[in-house]
Every structure is written in C-alpha cells, then in structure tokens.
C-alpha cells in the first residue's frame, strides 16, 4: 500500500476526508433550525423571510423529519465504511479488502470450478486429449485467446510466425515437444552470415543454391557457384539443408518459408541473420491449460485416430 510519494499526502487525504464528513454533519445540524426575529415568525405556507437576488424567497415547507435522519444516517454510514474499507489515506480498513484480493478470490473460485476438468485431461496422454471433443473445443478457445495474435486464428501463421497446421516443425512436431515449446518458449537465432559467406556476389550465389535445394525457381549457374560457400551454413542446416530440430534450424529443402521464399528475402536472412522469440506460457497459463492447448495444436496437423471429424 505504498501509494504516496510522501507521508504528507496520506495525512492530507485523511484530514480532507474527515473534515468533509464533519463539515457535512455540522452543516446539517446548523441548518436544521433557523432563528428569526420574533415578530417575523413565519407560519407554514409563508416564506422563511430570506430573500436572494432581490425577489427570490424561500417557502417555509418543512421537510419530514425522517428526511433529516436519513442525512445523518449517510454520515454514520460513511464513518462505518471508512472504518472497515480502505479510504482514509493509507489505512487499509479492518476488513483488509483489496481489489487484488477480490481478483485472487475469483481466480480461486474459477480454479475450484474448472480445475477438476483440466486435472482430468492432465492425467491423459496428449494424443488422447487431442481426440476428446470437449478438450478440442476448450483448446480452440484457448488458442483463439492466447495464440491467434501471432499464429493467426486459423493457426497458419504469418511472416516470422510459424504455420502450425503443416508437417514442417522447427523444433519437432511430437505432442510432448509442442507442449515443451508452449511451456518454456523458444528462441531461434540465426547469426548474420555475411562475413562467413563472403562478398555480396557470394551471398547472391548461396541464396540461389538455397532455392535450388527445394527446387524453387533459381539461377542454376549462381547456385552451382554458391554450393561451395554453403559450407558455412551446414553446421546448423545440415549437408542437404534438411535443418536440425535439436537447435531449431529450419529445413531449407522444402517449400515452406518462415519469412518468405523470394531471393531477396533469403539474401536478407543471410546478410542480417534472424532473431525470433516465442514467449513461454507455462507460468502464465499453468501446465493443465498448456496440456490441453498442446493437444489442440498437435491435432491441427494430425488427425487423431478417433477424433470426430470437424
């Protein structure tokens, strides 16, 4: 509850609040009766004798007394409220209520309600969960909430964000691997290879060779020249450019590109490198939800044997 820059403001708020309440009470008490000269004592229906703006007079129509008691009641209520709830500067109130506490309470209730459901899925193998229609529906909603921003609502990814519906995986497509990816996140780095490859011409040649690996449109002469320079890339991408899922190096021999398959994009990748992060969701979502989510993602590219056809 350290909200104030100095202790002064704490006192400031308390004094203002207390003065306000006391002031209201004094005003009410002082205004509930008027003194008038004996001779001008008004009767009901006449005016109180006060005149404003030359001709604005106040009718003497007394309010019922319960109305006054209601005013006092509001004052007593505010005093009681400030005792039990926060309001007086730093004073937390005897109930110890906090909005965060209310949120925590809501989370606790939600966990008590949905926890058993997720725990039931936790006990099952990921592939079994993938085959469960209810888990699939939950997984889809979780995906649309937490994953769709990057991977798209249809999970087909965007530039720089992998497509999750194909069979091409940077780190491996086994359900457990997917779960690990979601739990711990991934960090895929390709350093700039411009220096290792050589001149701009060399980079152009290597890029053409990379395109030749997947039999995409390329210049065969340049590709032949670049083949020798590809040695610098083999450490990660392997001899045939097949990639390495252990370190998240993409397969260069298929037609699936994370950043696009044009010659310019590949040259940019070689020159500048790439740095890609998938955040970790384990702590944020908790393992049970990730479990359901991983099963859902895996089912996007694998027809679970006994899953109901969508």
């Amino acid at each position: 509850m350290a909200d104030f820059t100095s202790g002064f403001w704490n006192i400031w708020i308390i004094v203002l609040t207390v003065l306000g309440i006391v002031g209201c009470g004094l005003l009410l008490w002082q205004q509930s009766t008027w003194k008038v000269k004996k001779g001008e004592q008004p009767v009901a229906g006449s005016t109180t004798g006060h005149v404003w703006d030359e001709d604005l007079t106040e009718l003497n129509n007394p309010l019922p007394r319960w109305w006054m008691w209601l005013f006092y009641l509001t004052i007593f209520f505010s005093v009681g409220y400030l005792v039990v709830y926060p309001g007086l500067g730093n004073f937390a109130g005897t109930f110890g209520w906090q909005s965060t506490g209310e949120h925590d309470q809501d989370v606790k209730e939600a966990n008590a309600k949905y926890g058993p459901l997720f725990d039931g899925f936790m006990k099952q193998d990921l592939k079994a969960v993938a085959a469960d229609p209810q888990a699939h529906a939950i997984g889809e909603r979780l995906f649309l909430t937490y994953c769709a921003q990057c991977h798209g609502s249809d999970a087909r990814g965007n530039k720089g964000f992998p497509n999750l519906t194909d069979d091409d995986w940077l780190h491996g497509g086994a359900p457990e691997t997917i779960k690990e990816t979601i739990m711990k996140g991934r960090h895929g780095v390709m350093p700039s290879m411009a220096a290792a490859v050589g001149t701009d011409k060399d980079v152009d040649n290597v890029a053409n060779y990379v395109l030749s690996l997947s039999e995409s449109t390329h210049d065969p002469i340049k590709a032949e020249l670049g083949k020798a320079k590809f040695g610098a890339c083999m450490a990660c991408h392997g001899a045939g450019g097949k990639g390495n899922q252990a370190i998240g190096a993409p397969n260069l021999s298929d037609k699936i590109w994370l950043y696009g398959g044009s010659i310019d994009t590949i040259k940019e990748t070689i020159n500048k490198g790439r740095d890609n992060t998938m955040p970790a969701f384990g702590e944020f979502l908790g393992e049970p939800k990730v479990h359901v989510l991983a099963a859902y993602v895996w089912s996007l590219s694998n027809r679970p044997s006994n899953a109901t056809a969508k």
Binding site: Q30, Q31, S32, T33, W34, K35, V36, K37, K38, Q41, P42, A44, G45, S46, T47, T48, G49, H50, V51, D55, T57, L59, N60, N61, P62, L63, P64, R65, W66, W67, M68, R141, L144, A148, Q149, C150, H151, G152, S153, D154, R156, N158, K159, F161, K310
Partner: protein, 495 residues
C-alpha cells in the same frame, strides 16, 4: 396548509434591509427573547383518508385488479415448457413468451423506455397525473394496504380514535393483525417479484423448505420491505418528497391539461346549509357546503379548494366525494371535476376542452410515440434469431498461398439466439470467385455462441490491390429467408 409552487410577493420584503437579516446562527448577539426558532424538518402529520366510492374510485380499483393480475399472475404462466416471462440474469437472457432477448438486444430496452417516457408525456399533457392517480405502483399498493387497514382497524374516525387511545388489548391485536397482514402480502409481493428472475415454480418448493439462495432471499426481503414501508408507512410522502416523476410532471402540464379543479365561482362563498338557510333566499351562498369531505378523502391531505397544488396526485377521490354530496343536496355534479385551467378561467364547455386536445404538443407527442412504437414493433417482428460479427485477424493482412491465391483470415462470432439448433451456410460476396474454407457450413446448437475461424480465398488476380469491401452472409439451409449479413474488408497484398 402549504401553498403551491409560487409564493405571493409580500410588500414588506421589498423594503427589507439586508442588514436586518438574521444570519442563521451567526448573527449579532442579541437577547434570546427576540428570536424564534424555525424547524426546517418537522414530524409528518398522519393522514387518515376516508373511504370513498364512486366512478373514479371504481376505475382505480379496476386498474388495481388489472395491474396486480398481471404482476402476480405472470410468473405462473408457462410457455414452451418454460416460464413465459423470465429475466434470467445469470444466463443473461430475457424470455418473453416466444421471444428470447440477449444482451445484444439492449437497444429494445432503450426503445421501450422511450415509449414509456413519451407515453407519460402524452398522458400527462392530456389528462394530468392520471398515471399517479390510477396506475402507479405506489398508488395501487397504498390502495390495497389501506383496504386491509380499513378491514382491521375500521373507518377513518375509528382509526383516528384507535391511534389516540392508550395501548390496550384491542389496540394491540388490531395493530398486530394489520401489520401481519401487510407483512404477508408484502412478502408475497417480494416472492412474485423474484419469480420474474428465478423460476416461480422452483421458488415455491424452496419456500416450503426455506432454502432460498442468498440473493433470492435478499431481494424477496428487500422488495417486501420496500412494499411494506412504501405502501404501509410512507404513502403520500413518497409522492411528495421522493418521487422525481411527480415533480417533473408539473412541468409537462399546460393550461389545457385536465386537472382536478374546484369551481370557485360556483362554490363560493362556502357555508353550511344551516347557515345558508338562516341567511335565507337571496343570500350569496355558493354550492360548497364546507363539509370537508374532499379534504378527508384526499390521500395526500390537501384541500383542493385552494387550487392546484404539487401534492395533488390526480386521483379524483375528492371528485367522487363532492359528487356524492351534490347528489344529496340536489345540486348538479361537478363542483369539483376534471377540467383545465383555461376552461375554468374562460368558462369553456366540455366540447372546447375536447377540441383543444388537437394542440401541437399533443400531436407531436402522439407522432413521436407512434413512430417509436411502430419502429419497436416492426424491428422486433423482423428480428432474426442469429447474430453475426466479423473480426479480421489483425496479425496478417492477406497472404499469398499456392497458385497465387490470396487468403484472408477472419473470425466469425455467431450467436444463435433461437431455442433450437440451425445449420447455416457461410458465403462471402464482393469479389468474383470468393471461397470460404475450411467449412462453408456450420452447425450451431440452441442458444449457442460460436467463434469460427474462416479463411476466405480469392483467385489470383481478382480484386483490387489493397482493401476490398466484401460481405459475409449466413443463410439457414432449411429456411432461406432466415439470413444475416455483415460487411468486412478483404485485403489483397500489393505485388
């Protein structure tokens, strides 16, 4: 008795010296004996309205029966195997016979409130506070509670006597019986009220076992206490001090609105018949015999003979009372009657009052009320039980897939507000050859909400580079007239 809104200017006030004004409590110290104290809050004077029978009293009782038949009876009517009228707050669905309203249909509540407001404007401009006098729950429940009170404590004079006399066994049992009866009725009213939000037929077994949910119990008691307090204890004070409508209806009157009027020209000078007889013929005796019945029957305790006052709720009890007296003394009815300010001042006949109904204010209110009501009914009539929202994926603008096909991703939020399932076909139009994948038809269960990711594909070369306007349409497979469409944007990446 207090005066109405205006106060007569008093000459002495013009001459008053500001310095002579005693400032409240902090004036110059003077001897105590020179000052008197005005209390700004005073105890309420108990009002004992006398029972009255007559045309308008019968009309009021008719309104009491009609409104309460609806209020107490509605939760018991079933429809399609559920309660006909149920406001299910937990599920956020309002059931009204065949209609199921969702939170998205809130606009109709706004329209309903506009209709209620203009209805009030119109009725008030035409006939003054008829709502207050005949249909307002405060009036209706006060009427019922006073009926109970009369049955147990007796008529006006008996009730006054009972209140004045010291506590005795008779006073104790009468007062206890009255409050018990009031309490029972109030509790039943509270139960009926909660029956609109929580199924009535499930409430009764809960009542038998006294196993209400905490909120159910709270609202039953709250509504019961409000009914008991307002109709039993507060009564006219609700209208005089609390109700905002009572106050701003005064601003909706004009000089041609029907109000309760006392015909002073005919009634004054008022005098008892004996006195008039003593003075003999030719004496200027008015028709008013000063029997004060009109004051005794008034539920707000005013004297209508002093003119229109803000406390008058237009219940016409004084009209009934005066008419019965006029009948007895063989004078024409209508000394106190519904009339207008202009009619009283200018002596207009009833036909003129009717003719003045067609004044601009009334016509405009009627036109607006009619228009809003027609819109309300018409839009409810053509309402489709399916709602569609299109949300574009913001992560990707548009992507090129194999063969130069352009693909955009959308999320369709589909709400089926119907109480049965449907199969809807999804189509997209706006660019030649648009195709929806992976599913171009979806099954949606009764009252289900779905979020369906769809990809829309445009053939290579179709559409403009940049954004294209397209429309999604859902159409029921069995009933092609049941459809809904929503606009969206399809983006073709620049080459």
């Amino acid at each position: 008795m207090e005066e109405a809104v205006m106060t007569p200017r008093q000459d002495k006030q013009g001459k008053q010296d500001k310095d002579a004004e005693p400032a409240g409590g902090s004036g110059p110290r003077q001897g105590k004996d020179e000052y008197a104290v005005i209390r700004m809050y005073e105890a309420r004077e108990q009002i004992y309205p006398r029972e009255i029978k007559g045309r308008y009293a019968s009309l009021r009782w008719l309104c009491v029966f009609l409104t309460q038949l609806v209020f107490y009876g509605m939760p018991w009517i079933n429809w399609n195997g559920r309660q006909a009228v149920l406001f299910d707050l937990a599920a956020r669905k309002f059931y009204l016979f065949g209609l199921v309203l969702w939170p998205q249909d809130f606009i109709w509540l706004a329209a309903l409130l506009i209709i209620c407001a203009f209805g009030l404007f119109l009725f008030t401009a035409v006939a003054g506070r008829v709502w207050c006098g005949y249909a307002c729950p405060q009036t209706v429940y006060t009427e019922i509670f006073m009926w109970i009170e009369r049955r147990i404590e007796g008529a006006r004079s008996a009730r006054m006597r009972l209140d004045r006399q010291p506590w005795s066994f008779e006073k104790l049992w009468r007062k206890s019986a009255k409050h018990l009866a009031w309490g029972a009725l109030a509790l039943w009213t509270g139960l009926s009220f909660v029956g609109y939000f929580s199924p009535m037929r499930e409430l009764l077994p809960e009542l038998a076992a006294f196993a209400f949910g905490p909120w159910e119990l709270f609202w039953i008691l709250f509504y019961a206490l409000a009914t008991y307090g307002n109709a039993g204890w507060m009564r006219e004070q609700v209208c005089k001090y609390m109700c905002p409508y009572a106050r701003f209806q005064s601003a909706m009157f004009d000089r041609d609105s029907l109000i309760i009027t006392y015909d002073g020209a005919r009634g004054e000078p008022r005098m008892p018949q004996a006195k008039a007889a003593r003075l003999g013929a030719g004496a200027p005796a008015g028709d008013c015999i000063d029997c004060t019945l009109c004051v005794q029957v008034c539920p707000t305790g005013i004297d209508i003979r002093e003119g229109l006052q803000y406390m008058c709720i237009g219940c016409a009890a004084c009209v009934d009372a005066c008419d019965s007296v006029m009948d007895k003394i063989k004078r024409p009815r209508g000394l106190i009657r519904y009339s207008t300010e202009n009619a009283v001042e200018q002596g207009l006949p009833a036909s003129a009052i009717r003719r003045r109904l067609l004044r601009p204010r009334i016509l405009i209110y009627t036109a607006i009320l009619g228009a809003v009501a027609a819109l309300f009914a018409g839009s409810l009539w053509v309402r489709t039980p399916v709602k569609l929202d299109v949300i574009r994926d913001r992560g990707s603008m548009g992507r090129e897939v194999e063969d130069g096909i352009i693909e955009n991703v959308y999320r369709l939020q589909i709400i089926n507000t119907d109480e049965r399932g449907h199969r809807y076909r999804i189509t997209a139009t706006g660019i030649a050859g648009l195709a929806v994948a992976p599913a171009d038809a979806i099954d949606i269960a009764a009252t289900q909400t779905l979020s369906v990711p769809v990809r829309v594909r445009a053939p290579h070369g179709a559409g403009e580079s940049g954004s294209n306007k397209i429309r999604f349409e859902l159409r029921d497979e069995e009933d092609p007239t049941l459809r809904v469409s929503e606009k969206a944007v399809f983006i073709v990446p620049r080459p």
